[in-house]
Structure formats: structure tokens, C-alpha cells
């Protein structure tokens, strides 16, 4: 098997392992179903482009988180050139199909309050909910460990506040 085919095979098996992570990150940054499909494709494109350069001094999950979060933040900032590129793929390919099961009310509420956070805070809270340590979060985000813990406290406070408001509505 030539090198390119081998790499494709590796990439597809990597996608199988990380498909949940990709859909989760896309879910916290994008709510519209069609837009979310676009975002997932954009993440896959960037993962594939960076795949040959993967540096194993970091765990592959750290690498995947960084790419998926970077792409998602850029996506929501509506870079026009990316939009054009996305349109090229939209009509012909649907790379990842997902039919998420109905979410319970509390989970919906959680997504709703996460959505009120700033883009970087969304990533931090998601990593926290995924039970990553402060050190891992700092590694992914490029923040200091102290900064991560300070931010986490602030985000938790904001979430608590948003929960109160959402509950009372």
C-alpha cells in the first residue's frame, strides 16, 4: 500500500475515534443544523490538512481539540474566504451524518447557557465538562494554569447566574 493510501486509512480511523469530539465542539459553537454540517466539514478539512504534520509530542486529543476549537471560533467569526471555500463543498458532500438523540431538558438548558459565554470561555467550559485537568486545558488553549483556574471560577459564576435567569424565565 502506498504512503498516501496508508495515510488516508489512518485518517479515517482517526475520524472514527474522534467523531464524537468533533460533533460536540461543533454543537457548542453552532446551532443551525446546516451550518453545523458546514462546520464539521471545515473541521475535517483542517484536520486532514494538518494530519501529516501531527507532532506526537502532544497527545492526539490535544491536537484535535486545538484544531477543532480554532476552526470553530474562526467559523463563527464568519471569515468570508472560508465561507466561499465551504460553499464549494456544500452541494456535493456530506462527510459526517449525525442524528443526535433527543436531548433532555437539562442538557438543552446547559447548551443554552454555554451559548451565552464568549467563544474562548465556551471552549474552556467544554474541556472542563469533559473532565480535563487545568494543565491539559492550559496546553490546549495557550493559557497559564493559574489563568485557567481563575477563568474557570469566573465562568462557573457566570453559568450559575445564567442558570438562575433561564430558570426564572
Amino acid at each position: 500500500m502506498d504512503k498516501a493510501k496508508e495515510q488516508e486509512k489512518e485518517f479515517l480511523s482517526f475520524l472514527e475515534n474522534y467523531k464524537r469530539l468533533i460533533t460536540k465542539i461543533s454543537g457548542i459553537y453552532c446551532h443551525d443544523r446546516e451550518e453545523r454540517k458546514d462546520l464539521i466539514q471545515e473541521i475535517i478539512i483542517q484536520l486532514w490538512k494538518s494530519f501529516p504534520r501531527y507532532d506526537n509530542k502532544y497527545p492526539i486529543s490535544t491536537w484535535t481539540y486545538r484544531i477543532a476549537i480554532n476552526v470553530s471560533i474562526s467559523f463563527i467569526r464568519k471569515n468570508s474566504s472560508q465561507k466561499k471555500a465551504r460553499e464549494r463543498y456544500r452541494s456535493e458532500i456530506q462527510w459526517m451524518e449525525f442524528n443526535p438523540p433527543p436531548r433532555d431538558e437539562r442538557l438543552d438548558m446547559l447548551y443554552q447557557v454555554i451559548d451565552m459565554l464568549k467563544p474562548l470561555d465556551k471552549a474552556i467550559i467544554m474541556l472542563y465538562l469533559e473532565e480535563h485537568s487545568n494543565k491539559e486545558i492550559a496546553e490546549i488553549m495557550g493559557l497559564s494554569i493559574t489563568n485557567v483556574s481563575t477563568r474557570k471560577l469566573r465562568i462557573k459564576e457566570t453559568l450559575r447566574h445564567h442558570f438562575e435567569i433561564t430558570k426564572n424565565e
Partner: protein, 202 residues
């Protein structure tokens, strides 16, 4: 709601996700992966094209300066335009270097800062045209007429020059007024985001 409870809710959402997500291996293999290889890089061709054009212009103006160095009426406008082109060359070079230095697998904060800087540079580039065009039109016309047709536009008198300069400033003033009245949303967003990132650094 306690945070522990939130983590539990979040974890529960994972349970049925795997079956719900299907990766289209065949489509990705047959269509996607090959296409990606030739995709997004094309965006920067405009910058590369701009750099090539500017290098050609630099050669043209250096040559013109050599031939007319004893005639300040022509060498001064040419030197002005040359300085502008050199600045633009450096600017485009920096922008291109910044673009290629952005890797999506960088730490999130680092990558987003670079992206924001790139966005600001793009917007600055567009806006700078509003000043460059009116200010540099007259020297450009003088140099171009001399270089290509060997015409001395100074012989036409100063009336048209004054009109061009006044006209340019009026146009620039109107443009500045419009921009101030209707600030670019993208620029505001980019600046806001950079401020937000600066806050993160602490």
C-alpha cells in the same frame, strides 16, 4: 445547579452519540481528500500577484529615478511613489508570512491572535486605498506621462494640478466622513475580539 450535576448531564449526552454519528468513508476518500489538497491555499494568489506587480513597478520606478535624478520635478514624485510601493511590498510580505505562520493546530489563543491581526491588516489595507488613491494620483500621473509618452504635464500649468489636489482631498474627506459615520462592522468585531484576547492573557 451544582457543577458536578452539570458534568453528569454532559456525560449522559455522550452515551448515544456514537451510534448517531456516521462517517462517510467512501465519500471522504473518493471526493474529499483529493479535493482538499488543492483547495484553500488558492486564496492567497491575490497577495502573491500583488507582490509580483509591485516588484515590477519597483523596477520601473528605480529605472525612472536613475534616468531623471537631475530633474527634481520628476524624481521627487517618483521617489514618493517608490517609497509607497516599498512600504506596500513589506506590508504584503508580512501579511503573507503571517498567513502561512497560522497553523490550526497552534494553541487556541495564539492562533486566534494571529487571525485577528491578519483580519486587521486586511481591513487596514482596504482602508488605506482611500487615502493612497487621492494623495498619490497626481505624482503617479506626472511620472507615468513622462515615462511612457515623454510628456511634461507641468507644461499644462498649475491649474489642473491644484484642481486635482483639491478634488482628491475633498474625496478623501468625504470618504473619511462616511467611514466615521458608518464604521466597518468587521473592523469593530476584529478589534473587539483582539481586546477580548488581550484580556485572556492577563
Amino acid at each position: 445547579m451544582e457543577f458536578k450535576e452539570l458534568t453528569e448531564i454532559w456525560k449522559q449526552s455522550d452515551m448515544h452519540q456514537d451510534e448517531a454519528i456516521k462517517v462517510n468513508h467512501r465519500l471522504i476518500k473518493e471526493v474529499g481528500l483529493n479535493k482538499i489538497k488543492t483547495s484553500l491555499r488558492a486564496i492567497q494568489w491575490s497577495s502573491i500577484f500583488e507582490i509580483i506587480i509591485q516588484i515590477l513597478f519597483t523596477g520601473f520606478f528605480i529605472n525612472f529615478l536613475q534616468n531623471h535624478h537631475a530633474q527634481p520635478a520628476f524624481s521627487i514624485p517618483a521617489a514618493l511613489i517608490l517609497a509607497l510601493i516599498v512600504f506596500n511590498l513589506l506590508f504584503e510580505g508580512y501579511r503573507l508570512a503571517l498567513f502561512y505562520s497560522i497553523k490550526t493546530d497552534c494553541q487556541v489563543l495564539k492562533a486566534q491572535k494571529k487571525l485577528s491581526r491578519l483580519k486587521k491588516l486586511e481591513i487596514f489595507d482596504t482602508y488605506s486605498l482611500l487615502v493612497i488613491i487621492p494623495v498619490f494620483t497626481l505624482p503617479f500621473l506626472i511620472v507615468l506621462a513622462k515615462a511612457i509618452l515623454n510628456w511634461d504635464l507641468y507644461l499644462l500649468g498649475t491649474g489642473w494640478m491644484i484642481q486635482t489636489i483639491i478634488g482628491s482631498f475633498v474625496v478623501a474627506a468625504i470618504l473619511v466622513f462616511i467611514i466615521r459615520k458608518h464604521p466597518n462592522k468587521k473592523l469593530r468585531k476584529a478589534i473587539k475580539f483582539i481586546d477580548e484576547l488581550d484580556e485572556e492573557k492577563l
